[in-house]
Every structure is written in structure tokens, then in C-alpha cells.
Symmetry: D2
Subunit: 342 residues, 4 copies
């Protein structure tokens, strides 16, 4: 069977790099075009030496025409607000697009504009874009042409909450999400506050109540609960490279034990290849999911307070970005869903 | 003026080491006795080379008699359940005692026994022990003979909550404390789970609902609010050496703005030498308090949800242990409260 | 084609875990037996949750009989001095053995006894054991029954030196190796000095002149140069999980430029799938080799001083242990040499 | 006695911050002026919250006139090539100057120009500048008006070598310095390569043979040995905030034991308040010197090879920069040499 040809636009950021790493060994897809912000044309395997003997491809200044010519499907790893100027060109040329930016995630343009501070420029394709969280949208992904790949924080939070919200076990009106993310989540940027000496031996909350991932979580939980949900979301910066661990505090709508709530989750995710629900109140750790596409979930119930504490863990570059993007590609293209993801 | 002579029993753990470091340069106190678990008698400045030229003292196997003979005040850095067998001997010999273990913190013996799994052995002195949080007990500390030095988690949590609980701004019945601690909090132990390779690039919650510091927080908040308080407390292990950052979620009892709540805190702590309340919704970071005796507090209110998010940060070995112990000594002995603490 | 059945004895240490991780997805080998030091029988995928859906195998207390019955080839991840009591049993049962301990690496028993402080107990098989560094012993590995898998430090050092030593470019009599290793190199041990708080924000040299890997480096460089070589070797402990970077200082025997020396290395390793020689004086970094089986090598010559500085980098758990062990298996069994190693 | 008034020009970089931290509690000096690159006038204790209650001073845009008016002595924490345009103004106004940049360290202007790529602009004051390493230049420092505060790498390397070079124990013609530095050594910069995710879990050599600190080491060792010395110097970037550990390989000129060489060093540094020489082949670690002004030195001799391995450790921001600058101030001003440095 012939492999499909895939392009990675923006291959030198962390998500782009992770995509190239995964696609280098994918059995059904072939990396056919990569672009980046390097000063000069350079082989991608020289930028990332571990690719030697696995990929042989020039990393070029981005050209839409060349990318269209050389690929059947394109991953857009471009900054927010840039993706929506480029995606229509690929879609117009009948290419499949998986956008890892935020540009097609929020269905309500006014919300997008509030959080990203620019008007949305592509109402047409926004409408048909599918939110690429396979665990809730697998059927739609199969036939989608444009995937809005979920944000890293929303992936961990939504997967940790939705099983309980759907079955009306959890009260969606008072959700608290205390999230902690590794530094690659901020991208490969020159910024003093991301300097090693500022982050190492440090820990802090940031963008309290204001993080741009909040409306994405609200949107998906509202859809699931059929109520208007507004979560309390506090992200923190962890001195690790990879991983997001979210500790979530949610009132229970019914009297429930730890055991019962776990059973609800295990049933909900029974057929999911990339979600693991822990038994007996065991809780996930970042190292359990590092470099994997898994979302691990554990929980305990305080029966007296009727409160569930749910902990989810993902690798922000895998299930939180590149891994999930490849999972989406696999579903869109009819490949084995775990292909390339071990 | 003659310096008082102080002993540090258990000087080779992290808290003991930090005490020795602080006391080495204290203007009113002189280190006169240190004991540790070393195999042989060895100078303390050989164990901790940075003490050279500052201290010249042998670190010995612990002898109550020698410690009593050589000191006026003793810091007990012994394991929980051991302190209460030793403290009475010092107190009987009219020495002042500052116990950094948990043995004298919980007024209710049955609670102690539930969390520490052994019967309490010293009902006599337990009764008179003063919980050594200067910000709430300064007057009692002045005349105390036995100080129960607070736990690290409780110090950050109580200071972050009590100003709001006292004034009835915060609802004490639904407090959620999501706490993150550096690794020295676990002590200097040989334990696989504390191995660098297990903690580095990792992050996890642990002892969910079960941490032994919970009853200490409950006790002090109950006292302050005159209600029975039971907090939801989830500790996490951070890959840093020092520091505890606690993110606390508390419903407001009255309609309040960020600005108003900050004003309440600033007034409450106006004369405190070691508490800083941030303005304008700014939030503390671990690096702001590392190697200091400060507790930094910041907060924001979600008016729509009537919810306060309060963040406190301390250095777990300073304000969370040794620094606070020295602050207590300063108060007990009539020294300047900031002496030795910069 | 039927997969061979492989056993991992000692699967819960770092090297054993890495072996299981690699073998879980190997196309020609099937994990058929794993043993570890757990208190009870437990599925290996419960110990290492990322193995879920990839492996389904009980981790048992070690039984030679069961391991022999269930496997065609066995990886021994046992402590030094234990391997040599077990390997003969497998070899006697006609199983192939890859020993990752040091027990079969040193041909001279007196040297073994000097460094490991116990008499060697298996002269018979020691004689036929092949030192499993494919880049110098590939032909012998093909037909070997017992592989002594090289130590982590020796792998990086020997690969960084041997191309120059073989061609008589480098003077083997004055080699200085300044090596820096991540913490997994010390194994999964409960030991205070490996506690996160002791290693993080720290760096130190250790076992100066005395490290047990010295005789292994000496043996292989002596063999290559046909002279008695004694290197100066100083290992250091790096606050990272994985990786060894060795900076080597070697006098040149002939007038040579950086360019010429690189050409020598590139020719020597031209057909090696897992060695990369950098051009133009570029130097490797740990992150270039992390989680790969590559050894990356860079160098520069100081012509005035006739001195070469050669830097090699490996992942200590991959090329320095488990990855190389699988590479050896691939060669012994006639599989593709890169199979399972990306 | 009246305190002298001191200015810190460039107080928001790492060295400037450390200077402010030290000077905040200095008994003989008073911080009277600080400038930085902030966008607006802001209290220095708001930039660095741990200064609260210790300093109350505005951090301003730099004005020479104001700095001259408000201070008796000035610390210049300005970029290389900028200091030499500013220092003459202070010196002309009869202020004492301690320059922590490289501008006055190299006596030979052509060497400066080769390494810093600009012509030197202040031949006049360069001539009288004193290289501020107290252990070798204390007498000159006492009467100096302009101190060239040594570089961080040179401080650790020179102190580790000079005792042996002076007494003709070490052969200065073949010195190899393998140095490893924490990240604050690179300054507080927005630079991708210093991003946490690039440095954490990584390690690399850099600027091999080309580091700008090489000529400084050569100059001082040449002066000490009265021979033209050219060291081989390879710096590496360590994933820690603070500290430099240098492992140095030096041939011995005479038959010497570890014990004898240590005795030479202990005698040489017998009266030094900030140098510790370890006994019995013990070696320093970064954590022994972190946050102190000490230089710790340990060594072992390989008698067979007539080679000494000497390890020195400093805190790059203390003895390698700000601490040493304060030590120089103390000597220049007749204060106790250890004042402010614990």
C-alpha cells in the first residue's frame, strides 16, 4: 500500500519536532515536506541529529505552493492567528489539514476574539472544523477535512472530566482545575521568563482565570453537559520539560464511592487505546505518560463532602499536541489508530 | 550581653542542617551542642564544609545529659514519636524546648494517634505546648517553655487562609488546598521513591486526603473560625529542593473584590516582619521566598463565582521549619524577632 | 517467521525496564518471561503503566527453571557477582545469554577480583565470552553464545577513542577521559547520596582513578593499540536522568588538523548504523542522543599543542546498556541490526 | 562609624541582583543608588520581593551624574565593552570603581581586541587597574581605585592552580581545564539556547578553545610562573542555576604524593578566609559552595603518571562575581574582609 505524503509546516518548534519524530517511523505516512524558521535551507536531520538514518529531507522556508504540491495531508504548527490565513489554501487544494494552533477550536468567533485579541478571519472553514479529541468525536474525525487539534491543557482536563459529566455524576457548575505544565508547553521561545535559571528551582501560578485554554474547556464541557459551564482554571509552570498533570475538584451530583466513580470511567473509556483509568484510588504521575500518547486518569471520592478529586496526566507534546495530531490523521485516513504511536 | 547556649539535636537532617546554618551567625545565640546520626564523632564543619570558619563544634551521638549540661535552649529535630520521649527530660531540667516534630502540635491525642499510629506518651507537657506560629500566637510564645513548631504545609496554608477566615470573609466549610512541595520536605532519607531519577522530570499527587498535616490545619482553622473545619488537602511532590506553593480555593461569604480581599490581608499582616501580601492580583513564586523566612501571599477573586483563589509560598526549610523555629526562639528569649533571619 | 522468545531477568531496575520497553515492540522477538524483585507477582504493565496494551506478562520472582523453559535467549540484568552464578545454567541449557553486568567483561580474572572484590567463579565461560561492542566485535558477536554487554562509560569512551587509536593517530599512553553521567547510571537504589535533594543543583567528581570501568577501557584500548594502555578516568555525577558525555584529551602522534581527524573517524564508522561523527568541529550534546541508541562523536584539534579534544555522547540506558544489548541480540540472531531500535 | 555609600549600576542582572542581596545587609556599606534596565522607575524591593524590609530604594534608568552624586564607590555590572566608557567618568570624579565586566582584566589590549572584537577605549585607566583576586593581589587591592573583578571561570581555575604553579610543583605548559558551569553564568538573557527545555536534561561542551576567559587564565598563570602559559580550556553548560566545578589535569614537575601536594596548597592558603583545601583526597561538590564566597579545592596525584588532578568549586555569582566584588570592596575600604560575606 502506498504511504500518504504528509507535510509539517513549522517543524522546528517543539510540536513540529515531535511530529517529525513520530512520522519518521510511521508505517502508513511518509514525511514529504517540512518547513521551519531556519535562516537557510538545511536538512532536518542536521537540526535534529537523532533523525539520522531515519529521515532525509530539507527543511525549507515555508512555501504554500510547494507544500501543496508535495503532500496529501498537512500538519500546521504555526502560531495562533497565522494558521487561519494558511489553512484555507490547503483546503481549497483538497488537502486534509490538521491544525495544531487554536484557530479552529472555538466555535464562537467572539470568544476567539476576546482571548486571542484579533478578529477571526475564516468563518467558512471554522464552521466545518472538527474538534480533534478522538475520545468524543471519533466518528466526525473519520470524515473531516479540517481538524482543530485540541490544546494541551484542554486535552488533559476534558478527558479527566467528561466521563463523569456525561453521565451526570459530576456537577459541572463548580469545577476547579488546578493544572501544572512542563515548559515545552510554552513553545521554543527566546524569553527571559523561560530561561533555565528562572524556571529551575521555581514554581508559580500564572494567567489565573485568564488562560486562553479556558474557553476551549468550557465549550466542550458545555456541549457534553448541555449546560453553560465555566470552569475555574489555574495553570502553573513546572520545572520539567514535558507533561501536564491536572488535579480537579468536582462536587458529585449523587452519592458515589471511589469504586463506583472509577467504574463509570472504566466503562466510558473501555475501548479507548490511549486512555488508562487507574483502579483502587491509585493516581497517575508524569513519568507514567512521558513520551507516550496516553492520558492516565485516577480519582478518589470524599464521600462526606460529596467531592471527587480527579487527577489526569498527559505528555503535553504527545497526547497534548503531536501524538494526538497523528492519532487524528490515523483516524481520518483509515489507518490503525495506534499506528506510529507504539 | 551574654549569648544563650543552644543545642540542635538531630543536626544532620535537612531541618537540623538549616538550623545550624542560621544559628552559626546568630548575634544572640551560640551553638553549644549538636548531635547527629553519624557513625563517629566528627566536626559539624566537616559534614557541612560551608560552616568552616563559622562554627567549630563536634557532632556527637546524642546524649541527653550532655545536651542538658551544655545548653539553655534545645531544638529537637527528631523523628515524630521520638520527640515526646525526650522533650520531658529537657523541660524537667528547666530548659526551653522547640520541637520541630509533630509530637506536640495536635491538642487532641486521639487525632494524633489516628495519624501517627502510636499512642501519645506525654499528656502532661502536651497541654502546655504552644503552637509556634508567631502570626497567631505571638503573646503565648513569649512565655512558653515548649513550642510545637508548625509543619511546613500547615504554615503556608494557615497563613494563606487565616486572615480571611478570622474576618469571616472566607467560608471555612469548603476549603480546597492544592499544595506542591519540594523534596527536602520528605527529609534526608534513603528511599527509592526519592531517588533523583524518580523525582526529576516527574510530578505527582500523594497521600490524597490522608496526609498527616491535615489535622493540624483543621485544628488551627477551627480555632480561628470557631467552627469545625475539615479542609480538602492534596499535596504534590515538586522536582525542586526547596519551597511549598499552595493554591487555595475558597468560597467567599460576602460579595468581595480582589482589591478588598487584599486590603483585608494587608491590614491583618501589617506589622508582621515575615509575611508579604502582594498587591493588584500579583502572585508569589517559589524563587521569591527561597532561602528566606518570608511567607508571600497573593490572591484574586472571581466575583461571579464568589470564589477566592489564594496562593501562598514559603521556603519549607525556613518559614516551614528551621527559620520559624529561630523566629520562635527570638520571641521566647526577647531577642529581636528577625535576628539571624536577615 | 516465528519470533524468538526472550527473558529479562531483573526487569525492574533501570536497564531491565529499558529492555522491556524496547522488546515490547520488537518485530522479531517476543518477551516471554520477566522477573524482578517485587514483593508479589504482579503484571509488568502495572509496574510500568506505559506498557499497557503493549505487554501482558507477569513479573515473577526469579526462577532459573522457568526462565529456561520459557525462553530462547536471556538478558541478565543482575548485580555484578551474581550474574556469573546464573549464566552457566542458561548456557548449559543451550540458551543464548546477554549479560549486562560486569561479570564477563574482563578477561583477566585478577583484574576482576581487584575491582569487584570477589573471586571470579566462572573461568570456563569467561574464556568464550564476547565483549559486545558491535563496532569492534561484530563478527564474533554473530556466533557468540555469551555476550558481555559493555559498561556505559566504556561504550562512550571506547567509541570516542578507538578510531584514532587503531590508526595510530592518537597516543594511547596519555589519554585523559573526563566523563559526566546522569543518575540512572547508578541504578534504582535507595541511597541517601542519590536522593533528589542531594543531586539536584549539585555536581561532583567521584571514584577518581578508582572506578570499576577503568580496567574495561584499558583492556579494549590495549587490544586495539597493541600496547598496555592505562587511561586517566574521572567520572562525575550530572543532575540529569540519562546520558553520558565524555570529554577526552589525547595527544596526537602525527601532525593532524581537525578536518583530517574527523575524516579518519568518518571513514572508520562509515557503515555503522549507530555512530554519528559530526563535521566541522561541531560537538554532540546529551539531548541529541537521549532515548536513542546512537553514539555521537565530535572533535577539535589544537594543532599548536598537538592535542585532540574528542567529545562523545550516549544515552547510558540505550547504547550504554539496554539498547546495545538488543543490538547484540539482533546480530546474534541474524535480525536486522536496527530492529526495535528505531 | 559612617557607612560608605555604594552604587550598583546594572542591578537587575544576576550579578547585580546578588550584589544587592549581599549589600542589603552589609554592616559597613549602604546601598545608595541602583540602576537597571526596567521600563520604568520601580522600587528594587518590588523587583526582588525578598528584599522587602531590608532595602527601600528606587531602581532607576542609569544616570552617571546621579550615581556619582549619590555614591562613594560603584560596582559596574555592565556588559563588556560598555564598562570602559563609563568607568573613567567615575574615576575622574574620585569614586572607587569595581568593574565586574572583562574590560579591565587583560593588560594586553591586542588580546582584548582579539577576544572581544572591539578596540579597547581606555588605555589610561587600564594600566592602573588591579586584577581583583585577593588571594594573589591583596596588597595592591588595598590601594587600588579601579578593580577588574575576575571572571567566574578564571577565579576557580586560577585558585585551583596557582599554589602549585608558584611553587613549581605543577608544569604550567600542559594544563588541561575541564570546566562545568551553571546557567546563571550566561547572564539573564532572552535566548532560545538558554530556555529551560533546552538546558534541562541536557549537557554540552561549548566554545571549545575559544572562550573569552582563556586569555585571563593564561595572563595570570604566566605572571605566576614567569613563563608563557597557554592552557587547554573546555567549558561545559551544567543544568544547575549556580556553581562552577573545574577538573584540572596537570603534569607534576617533581615526584609528589597526594599528601604532599595537599600540604603545599594548605600552606599557601593557610590564612585565606575564603579558600578551603580538602584533606586526604576528598573532593569538593557544588553544593558545598553554593550561596557562599568559598573556593573549595581538592586533589589527588597519580604517582605512576606523575599527574595531578585538581578539582575546584565556587559559586559563580559569589566568589565568581558579586561575592568577590564585595570582598574587594572590603579590602579597598579597610573593612573586615569577610564583612557581608557571612
Amino acid at each position: 500500500m502506498k504511504k500518504i505524503r504528509v507535510a509539517v509546516v513549522g517543524a522546528t518548534g517543539y510540536t513540529g519536532e515531535e511530529l517529525v519524530r513520530i512520522l519518521a517511523d510511521h508505517e502508513d505516512a511518509e514525511l514529504s515536506y517540512v518547513s521551519g524558521k531556519e535562516d537557510r535551507d538545511i536538512k532536518i536531520q542536521e537540526i535534529f541529529p537523532y533523525l539520522k538514518n531515519r529521515v532525509n529531507l530539507e527543511c525549507k522556508a515555508f512555501s504554500v505552493e510547494e507544500a501543496i504540491e508535495k503532500s496529501d495531508l498537512v500538519f500546521l504548527c504555526l502560531p495562533h492567528t497565522v494558521s487561519m490565513t494558511v489553512a484555507p489554501l490547503f483546503l481549497g487544494a483538497k488537502k486534509k489539514v490538521i491544525d495544531v494552533s487554536a484557530d479552529y477550536r472555538l466555535k464562537d468567533k467572539t470568544v476567539y476574539e476576546k482571548f486571542y485579541k484579533v478578529p477571526h478571519k475564516d468563518a467558512v472553514y471554522l464552521k466545518g472544523a472538527v474538534y480533534g479529541l478522538p475520545e468524543i468525536n471519533r466518528e466526525k474525525i473519520k470524515t473531516a477535512h479540517l481538524i482543530a487539534n485540541p490544546g494541551c491543557y484542554p486535552t488533559g482536563a476534558i478527558l479527566g472530566l467528561i466521563a463523569g459529566v456525561r453521565g451526570a455524576w459530576l456537577d459541572p457548575s463548580s469545577i476547579i482545575i488546578d493544572a501544572k505544565s512542563g515548559v515545552t508547553g510554552a513553545g521554543r521561545k527566546a524569553e527571559k521568563s523561560l530561561n533555565f535559571s528562572e524556571v529551575n528551582e521555581n514554581f508559580k501560578a500564572y494567567k489565573l482565570f485568564e488562560h486562553q485554554h479556558v474557553p476551549e474547556i468550557d465549550q466542550e464541557l458545555s456541549r457534553a453537559s448541555k449546560k453553560e459551564v465555566r470552569v475555574t482554571f489555574v495553570p502553573h509552570l513546572l520545572p520539567v520539560n514535558r507533561g501536564i498533570l491536572s488535579t480537579m475538584y468536582v462536587p458529585l451530583l449523587k452519592k458515589t464511592t471511589t469504586h463506583e466513580l472509577i467504574a463509570v470511567y472504566r466503562k466510558f473509556y473501555a475501548n479507548e487505546p490511549f486512555v488508562k483509568v487507574y483502579e483502587n484510588g491509585a493516581l497517575p504521575e508524569l513519568k507514567h505518560v512521558a513520551h507516550t500518547n496516553f492520558c492516565d486518569i485516577g480519582m478518589r471520592v470524599n464521600e462526606e463532602k460529596k467531592l471527587a478529586v480527579i487527577v489526569s496526566a498527559i505528555d503535553n507534546l504527545q497526547k497534548g499536541a503531536a501524538g494526538q495530531a497523528v492519532q487524528n490523521m490515523n483516524i481520518m485516513c483509515g489507518f490503525k489508530e495506534t499506528s506510529g504511536l507504539r
